[in-house]
C-alpha cells in the first residue's frame, strides 16, 4: 500500500489487522493440530486461503517499516510453512505448483508487456553494456569466490581442482539469474516509472535468454571436468537453439492470438489467463520450451506489435495482488528454514559476494555506457533478487550431477532464501531514493465506494 493509503490507517486499524492475523493463525493452528490427517489436496484449499489472507495482512502490518509487500508475503509463508508452524504442509506446497506456474506466467506476460520498444531503444547502450559486464564479470568473479571459499563448502572440500572449477562455474551461472517476479512485484506495489525502472525491467526480462545460453555454454565446458570420460560436445547448443527459437516462435504466435482476442473479443480475460497459465504451460513444458520466455515474448508482441498492450496490462493488474501473494507466500513456505540456519554463513558469504560483484559490474558498465549518475548509483539494486528461475536451474544441475547435486541444491536454496528476502527491500529502497516510486494503492483506491 502506498504512503497515502498507509497514512490513512490509524493505530486502531493496525491493531484490528494484527488481531485478525493472530486469530487466523490461531484458527489454522487449532484446526490443523486437531485434525491433521487430511489428504487428496483438501488441505491445500485452506492453505491457499490462509496464505492469501496472512500475506495480505502481514504486508499491511509491515508497511510502517517501509518494507515491500513481497517481504510480507514471504514472511507469512515462512512462518506458516512446513519448516516453522506447519500450517501449510509439504504436500500443500507441492500441490500449489500449478498455481505458482499460473502466477509466474502472468508475471512474465506483464513483464513482456512492460518492455516497450522505444524504452528499449533508449536504453540499448546501457542494457548492452550491463548485460556484457554483469554476465562476464559476474561469472568470473563469483566463480573465483566459490573456489576461494572451498574450505567452507562441505560438498566441494574434497573435490579435485578441475572438478572444483567446474562446480564453481555452475555456481557462477546461478549468480547470473535474476527474479522477474520480484521486480514486477515491487513495481506493481510502487507503480514506479523512470530510468531506473526501465533499465531494471529491460535487464531482468532479457536476462532469462542470456542465462539459458550461458548455462548451455558452461554445461558443455564443465562436463569433461566433472565426469571422467566425458568429452566436449556441442550437443547442448542444439537443445538450447531448439528451446530458444521454439519459445520465441510459440511466444510470438501466442502474442498474436492474444492481440486478436483482445481486439475482437476482449472479455473474460481472467479465464483466458487461467487457461494459459494452467493448460498452456503444461503443453509448452511438454514440448520442452521455456514457458517463461514464451510468455515474455507474448507480452512483448502484444505491447509492441499492436495497440492492445495497455489493455493487457490493465487486465493483468485486474487480478489484483492475488497473483503476487500466492506466488511469494508459497515461495516463503518453500523456504527451508532449518537448512538456512545450517548454511547461513556460507550462503551469506556468497550472497554478499554476488551483491558486491553486481554493484561493481553496474558501476563499470554504467561508466562504459555513460549512464546518468542515478543509474550508476542504483542500477544494481533491482538485480539482486533471485527466486524460482534460480531454484529451477539449481534443481536441474543437481539432477544432472548427482555426485555433488544435493549439497549444491541445498546451498542454492539457502542462498536464494537470502536473496529473496533482501533483494526486494533493496530494490524498493533504490526506487524510493531515485524518486521513481509513486505508491499504487492510492490509485487503486476508489473513494466513491464508501457506503
Amino acid at each position: 500500500m502506498s504512503a497515502a493509503a498507509h497514512a490513512k490507517k490509524g493505530i486502531a486499524a493496525r491493531l484490528a489487522e494484527a488481531a485478525v492475523l493472530a486469530a487466523l493463525f490461531a484458527l489454522m493452528y487449532g484446526v490443523t493440530r486437531l485434525f491433521p490427517g487430511i489428504h487428496g489436496g483438501i488441505g491445500t484449499i485452506a492453505a491457499v486461503g490462509f496464505l492469501l489472507l496472512a500475506g495480505t495482512l502481514t504486508c499491511s502490518l509491515l508497511e510502517p517499516f517501509g518494507l515491500p509487500h513481497l517481504t510480507g508475503y514471504l514472511l507469512a509463508g515462512v512462518v506458516a510453512g512446513p519448516h516453522l508452524l506447519s500450517l501449510v504442509d509439504h504436500q500443500a506446497v507441492v500441490d500449489l505448483t500449478p498455481v505458482n506456474g499460473l502466477a509466474l506466467s502472468l508475471i512474465a506476460l506483464a513483464g513482456g508487456a512492460e518492455l516497450r520498444l522505444p524504452m528499449l531503444r533508449q536504453n540499448l547502450r546501457s542494457l548492452s553494456w550491463a548485460t556484457l559486464v554483469q554476465n562476464s564479470l559476474g561469472l568470473a568473479l563469483v566463480t573465483a569466490v566459490f573456489v576461494a571459499a572451498r574450505p567452507l563448502v562441505a560438498f566441494a572440500r574434497d573435490l579435485p581442482t578441475a572438478a572444483l572449477v567446474g562446480v564453481a562455474l555452475l555456481w557462477g551461472v546461478l549468480a547470473l539469474t535474476r527474479s522477474p517476479s520480484a521486480v514486477m512485484g515491487v513495481l506493481a506495489q510502487t507503480r514506479a516509472s523512470g530510468p531506473l525502472t526501465n533499465f531494471t525491467v529491460g535487464f531482468v526480462m532479457t536476462s532469462d535468454v542470456v542465462v539459458v545460453v550461458v548455462l548451455a555454454l558452461v554445461l558443455t565446458l564443465v562436463r569433461p571436468l566433472l565426469e571422467p570420460g566425458a568429452v566436449l560436445s556441442a550437443a547442448a547448443f542444439g537443445a538450447v537453439g531448439h528451446e530458444l527459437l521454439g519459445s520465441i516462435s510459440v511466444g510470438t504466435t501466442l502474442g498474436l492470438v492474444l492481440v486478436a482476442y483482445l481486439r475482437f473479443v476482449g472479455k473474460a480475460l481472467v479465464l483466458v489467463f487461467i487457461a494459459f497459465g494452467l493448460v498452456l504451460t503444461e503443453v509448452i513444458a511438454y514440448l520442452r520450451f521455456d514457458w517463461l520466455l514464451v510468455f515474455l515474448v507474448a507480452g512483448f508482441v502484444v505491447q509492441n506489435l499492436s495497440r492492445q498492450g495497455e489493455k493487457l496490462l490493465h487486465a493483468i493488474e485486474g487480478t489484483g495482488e492475488v497473483v503476487y501473494v500466492i506466488f511469494f507466500a508459497t515461495a516463503g513456505a518453500h523456504l527451508d528454514v532449518p537448512l538456512l540456519r545450517e548454511l547461513w554463513p556460507v550462503a551469506l558469504l556468497f550472497f554478499v559476494a554476488r551483491a558486491l560483484v553486481t554493484a561493481l559490474s553496474a558501476r563499470l558498465s554504467g561508466r562504459l555506457s555513460d549512464d546518468p549518475p542515478l543509474l550508476r548509483r542504483w542500477g544494481w539494486a533491482g538485480l539482486l533478487s533471485q527466486a524460482g528461475i534460480t531454484l529451477g536451474i539449481a534443481a536441474s544441475i543437481a539432477r544432472e550431477f548427482p555426485s555433488f547435486g544435493p549439497g549444491f541444491g541445498a546451498l542454492a536454496l539457502a542462498s536464494v532464501g537470502l536473496a529473496e528476502l533482501v533483494g526486494p527491500i533493496l530494490f524498493k529502497v533504490a526506487l524510493e531514493r531515485a524518486g521513481e516510486a509513486r505508491g499504487g494503492e492510492a490509485a487503486a483506491t476508489d473513494p466513491g465506494a464508501a457506503g
Binding site: 490513512k8 485434525f35 487430511i38 486461503g49 490462509f50 479465464l271 465506494a449
Partner: protein, 414 residues
C-alpha cells in the same frame, strides 16, 4: 481423458458461462436449472461414454469443493435481497416454510420407501443410512431455483406483484438446503473435539466459522474500497471457509453461506462485493454442473428409479402445496390459479450443489443417491416448472400472451 483435457473442458465451460451470464447477444440462452450441463456431464461420465473416470473426478475433488463453496457464498451474499431491495419478511417466511415442507415431504416419502425396500434396516428412519439418505435428499430437493423467476423477468418481461412475491420466495428457500446440509453434516463430525458437544455444537462451529470469516473479510476490506484487495480477500476467506469445513468434515456449503451472510451484513461495500461475486457465478456454476453430472452413479442404489419417482412426486406435491399456501397467504397471487405451485418445480444450482456436497462428504451409496436424486429432480423440474410458471404469470396478467409466431417459438424452447 487426461486431467489437462478435463481442465480445458471445464475452463471452456466456465468461459461459456461468462458469456451466457454477461453477453447481451446471447443472454438467457440455456435452461434456468442448468440441466443441460448436468446431462452433458452425465454423458461424459463413467456411466455413459466414460470420457471422465472416477480417478479424474477424485483428482478434481478440491476444485469441486471450492466451486460449490463459491456458489453457496454467492447465495449468502445475496440472501434476503433482490438487488438493492430487501425481501419482505413475509416472503422470506413463506419461502423458508415452503422449502421446509417440501423437504419434510420428500424425506418422509423416501423414508417410507426405503423402509419398504429394506425392512431389515429397522423401524422407519431409525437406521443411520436411511435417515441420512432421506433427510439429505429432502433438503437437497427443497429449493426452487432463483433463476426460473429471474429469467421469466429478463427473458419474457414478467413484472408485477406476483412476480415480486415469487422472486422473494425462490430466493428465500435457498436457506433450507444450505442450513440443512450444515445440520446433517454436523450429525457426522470428523472426530471428537474437546470443546464441541454433539451435533448442536458442530452446527454452532459451522455457523461461527462462517460468521468469523465473513467478519474477517469485512475488516480486511476496510473503510475504503480497494479493487485490487477485493479478490484477494474474497478468495482468501472463501478458500479458508471451504478448506476448514472440509478438514472438520462440516458442510462447506453451509460455512460459505454463513460467511456470505456475515460479509454482506457487516461490510459497507456489500453492493460491490455482490457484484464481483455474481460476475463469476456462471463461470463457476457451469463446470460444477458438468462435474456433478459426471459424478452421477446410477448403480448407487438398487431402487434408484423408485426413489427418484417418489422424490420427484413428493417434491411436486410439496411445491403444489406451497403454491396453495401462497394463494391463501398473499393477495398478489390469487389470480395465478391453483397450479401456481407447479411453477416452482424447477430446481437447479443450489439443489445440485448440495447434492454434490453430500456425494463428496459421504462417498458411496448415500452420497451418490442424493446427488442422483437432486439431478433427476432438476431435469424433471425443467419439463414442468418454466412452462407452469409462465402460465401462472399469464393468468395473473403479469406476462403478456405471446403472439402466434412467438408462441410457436416458445413451444420449441423450454
Amino acid at each position: 481423458m487426461s486431467p489437462l483435457v478435463v481442465l480445458t473442458v471445464l475452463l471452456v465451460a466456465a468461459y461459456l458461462g461468462t458469456f451466457l451470464f454477461g453477453g447481451r447477444l446471447i443472454r438467457g440462452r440455456g435452461l434456468a436449472s442448468g440441466a443441460e450441463f448436468l446431462v452433458l456431464g452425465f454423458l461424459a461420465g463413467p456411466e455413459m461414454l466414460g470420457l471422465v473416470g472416477p480417478e479424474l473426478l477424485a483428482a478434481f475433488r478440491p476444485l469441486t469443493l471450492v466451486a460449490i463453496g463459491w456458489v453457496a457464498l454467492e447465495v449468502g451474499l445475496e440472501y434476503g435481497f433482490l438487488g438493492q431491495r430487501r425481501i419482505p419478511l413475509g416472503h422470506l417466511a413463506l419461502g423458508i416454510l415452503g422449502g421446509l415442507a417440501t423437504a419434510a415431504l420428500v424425506a418422509a416419502a423416501l423414508g417410507g420407501l426405503l423402509h419398504w425396500l429394506d425392512p431389515a434396516a429397522g423401524p422407519f428412519l431409525r437406521s443411520r443410512e436411511h435417515l441420512l439418505l432421506a433427510a439429505g435428499a429432502g433438503i437437497a430437493l427443497a429449493e426452487t431455483t432463483r433463476h426460473v423467476v429471474r429469467w421469466a423477468v429478463e427473458r419474457h418481461g414478467a413484472a408485477g406483484p406476483l412476480t415480486g412475491v415469487l422472486l422473494g420466495v425462490t430466493d428465500a428457500d435457498d436457506l433450507v438446503p444450505l442450513v440443512g446440509a450444515g445440520l446433517l453434516f454436523a450429525l457426522f463430525p470428523a472426530g471428537p473435539a474437546p470443546w464441541v458437544q454433539g451435533p448442536g455444537g458442530w452446527l454452532g462451529v459451522t455457523a461461527v466459522l462462517g460468521a468469523v470469516l465473513g467478519v474477517v473479510g469485512a475488516v480486511l476490506l476496510g473503510r475504503d474500497f480497494r479493487s485490487n484487495t477485493l479478490w484477494g480477500v474474497l478468495f482468501g476467506t472463501s478458500l479458508m471457509a471451504v478448506g476448514m469445513a472440509a478438514r472438520l468434515d462440516l458442510a462447506a456449503v453451509a460455512v460459505a453461506f454463513a460467511m456470505g451472510l456475515a460479509l454482506a451484513l457487516t461490510s459497507r461495500h456489500r453492493a460491490r462485493i455482490r457484484e464481483a461475486a455474481a460476475s463469476i457465478e456462471r463461470p463457476v456454476l457451469l463446470p460444477t454442473l458438468l462435474i456433478a453430472g459426471a459424478s452421477i452413479d446410477l448403480s448407487s442404489h438398487p431402487g434408484l428409479p423408485l426413489l427418484a419417482a417418489a422424490a420427484i412426486g413428493a417434491r411436486l406435491t410439496g411445491k403444489w402445496l406451497e403454491g396453495l399456501a401462497l394463494l391463501a397467504g398473499s393477495p398478489a397471487t390469487r389470480r395465478a390459479g391453483p397450479l401456481l405451485g407447479l411453477g416452482l418445480a424447477s430446481s437447479g444450482a443450489v439443489s445440485v450443489t448440495v447434492g454434490l456436497a453430500f456425494a463428496l462428504r459421504f462417498p458411496g451409496p448415500i452420497g451418490s443417491t442424493i446427488l442422483a436424486l437432486a439431478a433427476a429432480a432438476a431435469v424433471a423440474g425443467e419439463f414442468i416448472g418454466p412452462a407452469a410458471l409462465r402460465a401462472s404469470l399469464r393468468r395473473a396478467g403479469e406476462l403478456p400472451e405471446p403472439a402466434p409466431a412467438e408462441a410457436e417459438a416458445a413451444a420449441t424452447r423450454p
